[in-house]
């Protein structure tokens, strides 16, 4: 291989890191270079092998739970502070726990929220965790909304919104049925980068509501109501990613 671009610009082009002018220039070069097209194809083969291999690994559930619990507790400290400091620190911590409780309570709806809400979000996060076990995620595997939508039709008496959002970075992965608090719910599965987003949907008689969000055990959720459907999206992706998905699903 003699073209010097195979060791630099080609990679920036392949990774979508060149600006428009740079990309156009490289594409002109591709038309005449004997080396670059083959080198580019080799990179594409390598990337698709890496993607298909699923060698990227997720953190074990035990670690996730351990950490979620640990950051709720006072962190054990290596340094031993004087007893006075310890006392003040304990008081500060006690105060901060009170705040956590108040904030947590407000997030769940404040005076108008109920114990049921807390249970609901706990069940949703549990269902999300369950879905991550091998073989539990998807009943109908398809990236095509016209396959996933009819699949639900024969099984439940409501039609959850199913969109193909691949162009916006949320490719549709498929759907499944799940049970939350004894009720059958539809779950539409999307991906974000390589992370799973479960969107739980069921009919409601309550009026439309703007999204609210929260987190539990390191998972974020966003809940909203629209057109007689209650939806909760849950994932380990950031709350802003979930907000983006909400916008795409409700516009």
């Amino acid at each position: 291989m003699s073209c010097e671009r195979t060791s630099s610009v080609l990679h920036a082009y392949f990774d979508g890191e060149l600006d428009a002018a740079g990309a156009a220039e490289f594409e002109r070069h591709l038309g005449s270079c004997p080396d670059c097209p083959g080198a580019l194809a080799a990179q594409a083969a390598l990337r698709s092998s890496l993607k298909a291999s699923n060698l990227g690994e997720r953190a074990p559930e035990t670690l996730r739970r351990k950490l979620a619990a640990e950051i709720k507790e006072p962190i054990p400290r290596a340094a031993t502070p004087s007893s006075n400091t310890t006392l003040w620190r304990s008081l500060a911590l006690a105060a901060s726990f009170l705040l956590v409780v108040v904030i947590g309570w407000r997030q769940l709806g404040g005076p108008n929220g109920s114990h049921d809400d807390a249970t609901l979000f706990a069940s949703i996060v549990d269902a999300h965790l369950r879905s991550l076990q091998p073989g539990h995620l998807i009943d109908v595997v398809s990236t095509d909304q016209h396959t996933v939508k009819p699949w639900f039709d024969g099984k439940i008496d409501f039609a959850p919104p199913v969109r193909d959002l691949a162009a916006s970075g949320f490719p549709l992965e498929g759907g499944r049925l799940d049970a939350i608090s004894g009720r059958t719910v539809a779950v539409v599965v999307y991906a974000r980068r390589k992370h799973v987003i479960n969107v739980f949907v069921w009919p409601t008689t309550k009026k439309d509501a703007a999204p609210t969000s929260g987190s539990r055990l390191g998972y974020n959720w966003v809940e909203w109501r629209k057109d007689g459907m209650e939806s909760i999206a849950v994932s380990d992706v950031s709350a802003s990613d979930l907000g983006e998905l909400w916008q795409l699903l409700t516009k």
């Binding site: 291999s53 953190a59 962190i75």
Partner: protein, 191 residues
């Protein structure tokens, strides 16, 4: 964790900050574990390192100035892992195979696709690379980081990110299609 600098920089987080940490940083645990797994090439060690990094991030959350929380966390993971690697023996990049001194025929996309279908072979090929090449490939291909994010995590200039990535991919290609398959170098007898 007990150096003087640590002691002065760490604070007890208030409730609002804890909630913010749970939202911004904790969701990146998978990325933290994955980077540690590939840098340390050992899942048990990786779990320890990911935990240590996350708790360290938690302690120093006050020092987080906003911006990309994932990059901030992965920077901590990377430092934690390199510290562990140094403790465990010689720097594995010292014995790296120099492809410039060992020119080989070009690798065809077809040969690559065939070798790449073998998951174990691909894993060994990736594990056989020096740490700095493993990390850049993991960040780019598994975590889908941009060059800018990789530059922030590895504290390298963007130009160096690009050239390192090119070299890393070249090495991975060659290791993958080497006649006898890639050999994993073990560090201090660990697998």
């Amino acid at each position: 964790m007990s150096s003087r600098a640590d002691r002065t920089a760490e604070h007890v987080l208030d409730a609002g900050e804890r909630v913010r940490f749970e939202r911004l940083v904790l969701p990146h645990l998978d990325a933290a574990f994955n980077l540690a797994r590939w840098l340390l090439r050992d899942r048990t060690e990786a779990e320890d390192a990911a935990q240590e990094s996350m708790l360290r991030a938690f302690r120093f959350f006050r020092g987080y100035q906003g911006g990309d929380a994932r990059a901030w966390l992965l920077q901590i993971v990377r430092n934690t892992c390199y510290t562990r690697l140094q403790k465990h023996g010689p720097d594995d990049s010292a014995t790296e195979f120099d492809e410039e001194l060992h020119p080989q025929a070009d690798v065809t996309p077809e040969a690559l696709a065939i070798a790449g279908d073998d998951r174990d072979r691909l894993m060994r090929a990736l594990e056989s690379l020096p740490a700095r090449f493993r990390e850049i490939l993991v960040l780019r291909e598994f975590e889908e980081c941009s060059y800018k994010e990789i530059a922030a995590i590895t504290e390298l200039p963007i130009g160096t990110v690009m050239s390192s990535l090119a070299r890393a991919r070249e090495k991975l290609k060659r290791s993958l299609v080497a006649a006898d398959g890639p050999k994993t170098r073990l560090e201090g007898g660990r697998s």
